[in-house]
Amino acid sequence: MTTEEATTARARPEPIKAVPVRHPGRWIAVAVLAVLTAMFVHLLVTNKAFNWSFMVDKMFRPPIIEGLLRGTVLMTVSAMLIGVTLGVVIAVMRLSDNPILRGVAWLYTWFFRAVPRLVLLAVFGNIGILWSRVEFGVPFDTQLGQLFGIDNLQLRLFGFSSRDILTGFMAGLLGLALSEAAYMAEIVRAGIQSVDPGQTEAAQALGLSRGQLLRRVVLPQAMRVIIPPTGNETIAMLKDTSLLLYVPVSVELFFQLDAVGKRTFQIFPMYVAACLWYLFLTSILLVGQYFLERHFGKGYGTSGRARMRLRGMTAEAGGSAGVVK
């Protein structure tokens, strides 16, 4: 016992008390940043052009809140939902054995990624010019009718005037969703390809069909690769709803702020208000993205694994109890 204590006492030398390395460069940088920050705050507080009270007064008005809820939030959610769904379909087409499906998927992504979103939205804002009515039914019905000697055959189920449907919100949604689908298709494709082919083989060997193995085995694993860029896409989409100004979509945050600014000749404060609104909204998304990534990282990585281990233990305890009964 005493010898053991003696050895540990001998084995542990006294703690190091060394003079740390100085970093004068860092201190200079901190000082410069402090001065710059002070200047910026001073600018915010003293410069009359910000007109803070006016801005705060206007930025929570009902039309602006409505624009925010419908044109920004609802538009982001709908465009992403359609974009992700269509993106998965296009990604699966892109990875298909059929060269025609592959080609069409390639053409789609090529087109929608090559045209800038702003230009695309301007085009979709005017696409109603192509048709006066949008109708659903048998395609080429009049031509088919002529083939069988029937004049002006019409096999249409229902339709809308394009002035009702292909303007404003719907046109903007179509533009954003179709463009998003192209980017999502690339993301999903990369995700699917990141999954070990052995996983597909194992699922096939068990007798799962193509759809089942995609849904149960490949996509859940691809999620880990798909989720982070999809989060970025959602944030980018939220910001890009401001481009709806060019469709134009009037029930939209930036459109409304811009309109107030132009009407009151207080353009700058309203643009600052726009910055603050978008900062607020994207910050919420960033928090959401953090939790999503944590969820889909399960079974992998260090923090995920530690958490899993905990969960595994409890499940194990439950499981073995069940077996023993």
Binding site: D196, G198, Q199, E201, A202, A203, Q204, A205, L206, G207, L208, S209, R210, Q212, R216, V217, P220, Q221, K298, G299, Y300, R305, M308, R309, R311, G312, M313, T314, A315, E316, A317, G318, G319, S320, G322, V323
Partner: protein, 264 residues
């Protein structure tokens, strides 16, 4: 050469019958006419040097690879095709999937589903494909995992298990579909030496219970002890086959001799 093949009649005890199986990857001909018969309850060991086409042949048996010529029957059913009016029709994805359900496969690299627990891995296919009740599937999975010595790991994720444990889960996963035939592709070659034994023991148990097995392996000891039949492949053809103990003790063909000299 078109073979005048007749399907083995039902009731015969042939579990697998392969006739003149050919397979090429582009210009590379990997299988150059494999004939093989495996009886029900038999353990057939496939040996051969790397690149001789063992994995490819195994994957042809459950149609993971499409063969270019020849025929494969499992339990009397032609794999991957339907013969109608003297013509072969390719099966649909769904029909192929249904055929695969009767054939279990174990891979060199386990290929467990990492996002599911051990229990999830084993119950996934039965729940999706056999319309088993959840409680029933879980009970059977627990039973199978108990049998492979992992009754205490139901809630673990594959990433938390050793290689040997993962491979035993993979075996339980395949067994959960109640297969008639099990294919093993070098099930122990990705394992640390001290873990090989536990997997081989599990396979021996399985063989003792009468499971029909085709095992690609470099474990000569296993082939000698458990194998009923040994097939030596090289360059895409069967070079020699017969009783494992006889072939290993006195290989007739020089390529078999050379190979055995290296691995023994």
């Amino acid at each position: 050469m078109p073979t005048q093949a007749t399907a083995p009649t039902a009731g015969s005890d042939l579990m697998v019958r392969a006739e003149q199986v050919h397979k090429s990857f582009g210009p590379l001909e990997v299988l150059k006419g494999i004939d093989l018969e495996v009886r029900a309850g038999e353990v057939c060991c496939l040996l051969g040097p790397s690149g001789s086409g063992k994995s490819t042949f195994l994957r042809c048996i459950n149609h993971l690879e499409k063969i270019d010529a020849g025929r494969i029957w499992v339990d009397g059913d032609l794999i991957g095709y339907r013969e109608r009016g003297g013509k072969l029709h390719e099966m649909r994805d769904r029909e192929v999937a249904a055929q695969r359900r009767a054939i279990g496969m174990v891979f060199q690299r386990f290929n467990l589903f990492p996002h599911m627990t051990v229990l999830g891995n084993v119950t996934e296919a039965p729940l999706l494909l056999r319309q088993e009740k959840k409680a029933q599937a879980r009970e059977r999975a627990a039973e199978l995992l108990e049998r492979v010595g992992l009754g205490d790991k139901l809630g673990a994720y594959p990433g938390q298990l050793s290689g040997g444990q993962q491979q035993r889960v993979a075996i339980a996963r395949a067994l959960a579909m109640r297969p008639k035939l099990m294919l093993f592709d070098e099930p122990t070659s990705a394992l640390d030496p001290e873990l090989v034994g536990e997997v081989l023991d599990t396979m021996k148990d399985l063989a003792r219970d009468g499971m029909t097995m085709i095992v690609v392996t470099h474990e000569i000891g296993f082939a000698r002890e458990v194998g009923d039949h040994l097939v030596f492949m090289d360059g895409g053809v069967v070079v020699e086959q017969g009783d494992p103990r006889e072939v290993i003790a006195a290989p007739k063909h020089e390529r078999t001799q050379a190979f055995l000299a290296k691995v023994l």
